[in-house]
């Protein structure tokens, strides 16, 4: 069974229907969170074309994420970044058997509705795109399609889960090829989980109330998370992963899986690199296999990458305070 902490049984996204004579239920937390559980220990790859999606599938990706431009391109060209062309998303859905995800802007309810109507398997409400609402994220309980959100801390993660996110990923710093921020975010999350677990074990409920107020979330979600000692949804690493060793390192920090954005299709050895990152994610705790994977890539063909300290645009700050 899987944790259903914070579930809203009266959510609009839960649909009771008849399939011939049988009563069925769609959009429950078991189905939405359960979908994310099926991705565990896998790699989700950002793609912009059918050809890239097929390379990803052949390499053993568990899912592809369709974008109009890779995050590094979004960073370079500036302007407003929006959801990808529906026609490209549909073409990709018709050419691979693995699940297909797509991104919508933070707070952009109708981009998300359009993606749900397109029948993508999961929606990423993403800071890589330009936020459409500076004050609200999408109320994800209204959706039958599961939604994943980025987060940098336990407070952000729990706020997103209370809004109905079925999966969390670190924000990292997208499009940089620099794994440092993703490492910071997962370590901060782990530290905070350890702290609330300690408080829960000590029986100091009043301190959990203080934390819930500080986090701007309900007491219940803090208590249930503290009891579990982990997030009640699957948690992936994302933002800046470029090599097999990056993926293995983040898996070792307790991430359930990996999103790779610009790291693969911005490199000159995309095909090999896609395979190598999958290999390193699956066998992250066997160093000989990670070495084998790392040997499949050529560092001279890795994306150049960016120092996070000198960035003009910090995508991770988007939507972080709400």
């Amino acid at each position: 069974m899987l944790p259903l902490s914070g579930e809203r049984r009266d959510a609009k996204g839960i649909v009771y229907e008849k399939m011939n004579s049988s009563n069925i239920l769609r959009g429950s937390s078991t189905l939405k969170r359960g979908f994310a559980h099926m991705l565990k220990n896998g790699v989700v790859m950002d793609v912009t074309t059918v050809e890239q999606a097929q390379i990803a599938e052949e390499a053993g990706a568990v899912s592809v994420m369709v974008l109009d431009k890779l995050p590094s391109e979004v960073r370079k060209v500036g302007g407003v970044a929006r959801t990808a062309s529906i026609r490209i998303i549909e073409d990709i859905m018709d050419s691979v058997t693995i699940p297909v995800m797509a991104k919508c802007r933070i707070g952009h309810v109708h981009e998300a509705l359009v993606l749900q109507e397109t029948d993508v398997d999961m929606i990423d409400e993403s800071e890589v795109l330009t936020p459409a609402d500076e004050f609200h994220h999408i109320w994800k309980w209204d959706f039958t399609t599961p939604v994943v959100n980025g987060a940098r801390s336990l407070a952000e993660s729990l706020r997103r889960i209370e809004e109905g996110a079925s999966m969390i990923r670190t924000k990292g710093e997208p499009g940089t090829g620099n794994v440092a921020e993703a490492v910071t975010h997962i370590k901060k999350l782990n530290d905070e989980l350890r702290i609330i677990k300690g408080i829960y074990d000590s029986g100091d409920n009043q301190d959990l109330v203080r934390i819930a107020r500080d986090f701007k979330v309900s007491y219940d979600i803090v208590e249930q998370t503290a009891k579990l000692g982990r997030l009640p949804v699957v948690n992936f690493a994302a933002g800046g992963i470029a090599t097999p060793a990056d993926a293995a390192y983040l898996m070792s920090l307790g991430c359930d899986g990996i999103f790779v954005g610009s790291g693969i299709f911005n490199a000159d050895d995309a095909k090999q690199r896609a395979k190598a990152i999958v290999l390193a994610t699956t066998f992250w705790n066997e160093t000989d296999k990670v070495k084998e994977a790392q040997k499949m890539i050529d560092e001279r063909q890795s994306m150049l990458g960016l120092d996070v300290k000198t960035l003009e645009l910090r995508m991770q700050d988007r939507g972080g305070s709400i």
Binding site: M19, R26, G42, V120
Partner: protein
């Protein structure tokens, strides 16, 4: 004699199956060890195996890479009980076509003589929960959790149909090999895991 049950931990919802199997063992009061297995060496020591839900293309390719696909086939063919769930049932099948894409050339174990349709009920939005029954193995009511689930479009001789949903085959059994399109490990009901543990116990006697 202690039994050794493994959950294939290449990719997918390994942990949930570990928890369900442990609960099943506790409820039955049996002396059974359950662990995550990945390497050919670990697999060779098993008395029973669960192939969990996940992405069948990923599980297939990576178990081919590390050599576990070969030993899995040998062990299952020599009688080791196996429960394949969703992607796991796809792995056990002879051929798997996708509802939209058609023919796939993913690595499969080719153990169960069944024809399989992947993503048979549609994409994630069409995933559903509904009551099903597996009367022939003493489970009259079970909460079927179908996530981008496959269905069995045809069975070969000797393959028993355990469950149908809306005229589509969603659970099958042949000897010690069981396949389900739905996810018992995502529910609190351990009856199918208990049935499977008992099957392993019986196969050793």
């Amino acid at each position: 004699m202690s039994l050794n049950v493994g959950i294939l931990s290449i990719q997918g919802d390994v942990q949930e199956n570990l928890v369900s199997t442990k609960s099943a063992i506790d409820e039955l009061g049996l002396d059974v060890k359950v662990s995550e297995v990945k390497t050919p060496d670990e697999i060779s020591q098993l008395d029973g195996l669960i192939i969990p839900g996940g992405e069948s293309t990923t599980i297939g390719q990576l178990s081919l890479v590390n050599g576990s696909l070969k030993i899995l086939k040998e062990k299952i063919e020599s009688g080791m009980p196996v429960l394949g769930i969703c992607a796991g049932m796809i792995m056990l099948s002879k051929t798997a076509d996708d509802r939209v894409i058609g023919k796939t050339d993913q690595p499969l174990l080719d153990i169960l003589d069944i024809k399989l349709e992947r993503n048979s009920f549609g994409r994630q939005k069409e995933s559903f929960e509904s009551d099903i029954s597996m009367n022939s193995i003493g489970i009259p009511k079970f909460n079927g959790v179908f996530i981008r689930a496959p269905s069995v479009s045809d069975v070969g001789s000797g393959v028993e149909i355990l469950s149908k949903f809306n005229e589509r085959i969603v659970a099958v059994k042949k000897g010690n090999v069981i396949g389900t399109a739905f996810h018992p490990e995502l529910t609190e009901d351990t009856s199918l895991h208990k049935y499977f543990v008992n099957l392993i116990k019986a196969s050793k006697n």
